[in-house]
Amino acid sequence: MKQVYMDHSATTATDPAVMEAMLPYFSEKYGNPSSLYTIGRQARRAIEESRQKVADLIGAKKEEIIFTGSGTESDNLAIKGSALRNRTKGDHIITSSIEHHAVLHTCKYLEKNGFKVTYLPVNKEGLIDPVDVAGAITPQTILISIMHANNEIGTIQPIAEVGKIAKEKDIVFHTDAVQTTGKIPVNVDDLGVSMLSISAHKIYGPKGVGALFLRKGTVIEPQMHGGGHERNIRSSTENVPGIVGFGKACEMAKERLPQESNLAALRDSLIKSVLEIKDSYLNGHPIKRLPNNANFRFSYIEGESMILNLDMKGVAASTGSACSSTSLMPSHVLMAIGLRPEEAHGSLRLTLGRENTQEDVDYVLSVLPDIVNKLRMISPLAR
């Protein structure tokens, strides 16, 4: 049976060239980068070369990159580190209602610990309004964190506009760019951010490694104390193979960036054809969306059932339905764009990647309508 992977926003396969670059750092170059002898120095050099490559992808300086263990850790470090550092200046944080849980749950944690958080609403296409950001700022505001693009519905936020507001008011501004880096141009100066989170496994690098861009002059409290690694901001013996793989993945992503936008044509052909299915809708913004993201909802049927049926046909996809997770409520993102729970339960996310072809899209289009029909046949909600 044909296998089609269309869940690239969940994770990507590690590129063979990335794996090849990593391998020596498991075996012959296994030294601790803090060690002074040859294999230690080799590892140190490899890390610093990777740091440069990560910096190059996002228009940052090498010294502004802190390696972490994941995108989630980068978000935690940015938000908690900044909030705790600036606590004496104020206690107010502004974020959006559609952030990744790595940001939302970190903000909830800070709320429990005395901070105040404003969760900005989004419109039905998933866009925040920069006017709302400006309106939410108080003299107590110490941090703004708005994601660059949403992981579920793919909506790209007006980050540069928020960046201008933050700069004007001299407020630290963080963005979670885990979904945009390597897919659309990401430049820390153009965006006007003080901190930016990225992750390796979303861009054909290995799992277990991420980075935080920390602009020179932005000071945060470390969240991991120990041997003083990563400029004393993130102690832990460096994940050398992972970091080397991350660097290679960033280098390749930079070279491939012009081709990534080609995915938009494939995405649009997918969207156009899927919407020919009766009672189907597109979630998110029609234009301001990630080139690889398509998110639909189908009336009368439930997302997990769609995912399982697609899997039986060899297609890997995901849903924002609660039935795929441990919570009873469907995705907070789909609720925030104003969907009713039963609508949100019927969502399907297809995220394209490098290896996907028109043939893959055609295959999905050949199986999806039958799956939708089959589930509607057994649904009491369909009329």
Binding site: E302, S321, C323, P341
Partner: protein
């Protein structure tokens, strides 16, 4: 309890038994809520106190569809009294277990059957011996 779906769950999900409505059903049990992502309608046909036919329509996840399918198999041919004794646990057991998160939210099929039997008893004014 299992980590994922058992083969039996996947079998009942992929090939659900007794799907559809019974046009002249003697009782219908409607349980669940679209807000929670699960809605089950269980239809029964009763003859001489026996569940002669049982069918279902379900909006929901894999577990919701599989439990609906399983309850129709468990209930068919049983007396009304026996039908009322089929529990959520019996359904989960017959499917070789359900993942922990599904045990409560999607395991409504037994409730649906009970509701259908009660609907029948109310409509006919019959009482169980």
């Amino acid at each position: 309890m299992t980590d994922g779906y058992s083969e039996k769950v996947m079998d009942h999900f992929a090939n659900p038994r007794n799907v559809g409505e019974i046009k002249d059903a003697d009782g219908i049990g409607k349980v669940g809520n679209p807000t929670c992502g699960d809605v089950m309608w269980i239809y029964i046909k009763v003859k001489d106190n026996i569940l002669e036919d049982v069918k279902f329509k379900t909006f929901g996840c894999g577990a919701a569809i599989a439990t609906s399918s399983m309850i129709t198999e468990l209930a068919k041919g049983k007396t009304l009294e026996e039908g009322l004794k089929i529990s959520r646990g019996n359904v989960a057991e017959a499917l070789d277990g359900l993942p922990q998160v599904k045990l409560h939210c999607s395991n409504l099929a037994a409730d649906g059957l009970h509701a259908a039997i009660k609907d029948y008893l109310e409509k006919t004014g019959k009482k169980l011996s």
